[in-house]
């Protein structure tokens, strides 16, 4: 049995639904805030995820960081060295998708050369008539960045836990890979 721990950075433009997703995930789908309240700093939520078919688990320390441009710099100081990345945009806002490349640049500066498993999340999939970003376009960009693509609706509880569960599994496989490498090392 292993309990892994990961710092999971949650970023993206303001009002794309980062906190909504994060609270839904944290509360197993029981807590959806109907009223918008902008995150102005960094909120830390911890959630333990069991890895299917193993006795292992991953403790995710989710760092929900403000998306508003003027607040980002102050928040960056609290990002530390992330182990996982969850980048969110709003499917009804082309701009929030376009800004994802800026977010990638920003977070890469904190990776210090490490491989950080990440997901791209298109949120608000319930608002299909207002959709501005096509799944195929988002999927293609995600792939070019080495991210796994998910679409979610925090409001309709659609797929809301998939991105973070997938990140937990990714960290678990990374751990197993590294453990194997270490087992096969030659002495110094």
């Amino acid at each position: 049995m292993v309990k892994l721990r990961a710092r999971c950075l949650l970023v993206g433009d303001a009002a794309v639904g980062k906190s909504a997703l994060c609270h839904m995930f944290h509360s197993d789908g029981t807590l959806f805030h109907k009223n918008y309240s902008m995150t102005t700093g960094v909120e830390l939520l911890m959630k333990c995820v069991n890895i299917p078919e193993t006795s292992d688990s991953v403790e995710l320390y989710i760092i929900d960081s403000a998306g508003k441009e003027t607040l980002v710099e102050a928040c960056e100081k609290m990002w530390g060295q992330p182990s996982l990345l969850c980048l969110v945009f709003d499917l009804t806002s082309e701009q929030s998708f376009a800004n994802c490349s800026h977010w990638m640049e920003r977070v890469r500066a904190h990776w210090q050369g490490l491989h950080v498993p990440g997901v791209l999340v298109g949120n608000k999939s319930d608002l299909s008539s207002r959709r501005e970003v096509q799944a195929s376009v988002a999927q293609e960009w995600a792939q070019s960045q080495g991210l796994e693509y998910h679409e979610t609706s925090a409001k309709e509880m659609n797929n809301f836990d998939a991105p973070l569960l997938s990140l937990a599994r990714a960290l678990h496989s990374l751990y197993q890979e590294r453990r194997e490498t270490i087992q096969n090392l030659s002495p110094g």
Partner: protein, 134 residues
């Protein structure tokens, strides 16, 4: 003492911040570099070794993998508290084989040695052996 493992001399690892039951902290002091303790995510990580009796130490050798910054502290009390800083070191990245670093200048006797890994070259690091020269 160089040839015998710390555990055979009665030392124990009394604190470790990660646990994979297949790679327990005892592996650090069994004298064998084929067995190891592995960190399970995030930094800092630390472990504390308690000696059976106050031990005079001239140097410690740490065999590890992917450790970037290592801080060592010691004390000479019965409890694992109130440590004083000994040294802080940036270790070289060694791909494919173990890092082996000897740190001298520990000075006088100690009952506990505390090792704090503040950063790594990867998400996960391992410590294979700590040995002590008197």
């Amino acid at each position: 003492m160089f040839d015998s493992s710390l555990s055979s001399l009665g030392a124990k690892v009394v604190v470790a911040t990660s646990s994979d039951e297949n790679h327990p902290p005892e592996n650090i002091i069994d004298g064998n570099t084929n067995t190891f303790w592995m960190s399970t995510g995030m930094f800092p990580q630390e472990f504390v070794i308690r000696f059976a009796e106050p031990t005079s130490i001239s140097a410690v050798t740490v065999d590890s993998y992917n450790v970037k910054r290592l801080k060592i502290e010691k004390n000479s009390s019965q409890n694992a508290s109130q440590f004083e800083s000994v040294t802080e070191k940036e270790l070289e990245n060694t791909e494919g084989h173990l890092q082996s670093n000897t740190i001298s200048g520990i000075g006088s006797s100690a009952t506990h040695l505390r090792f704090i890994i503040t950063t790594g070259y990867d998400h996960f690091v391992s410590v294979h052996r700590v040995s002590v020269q008197n």
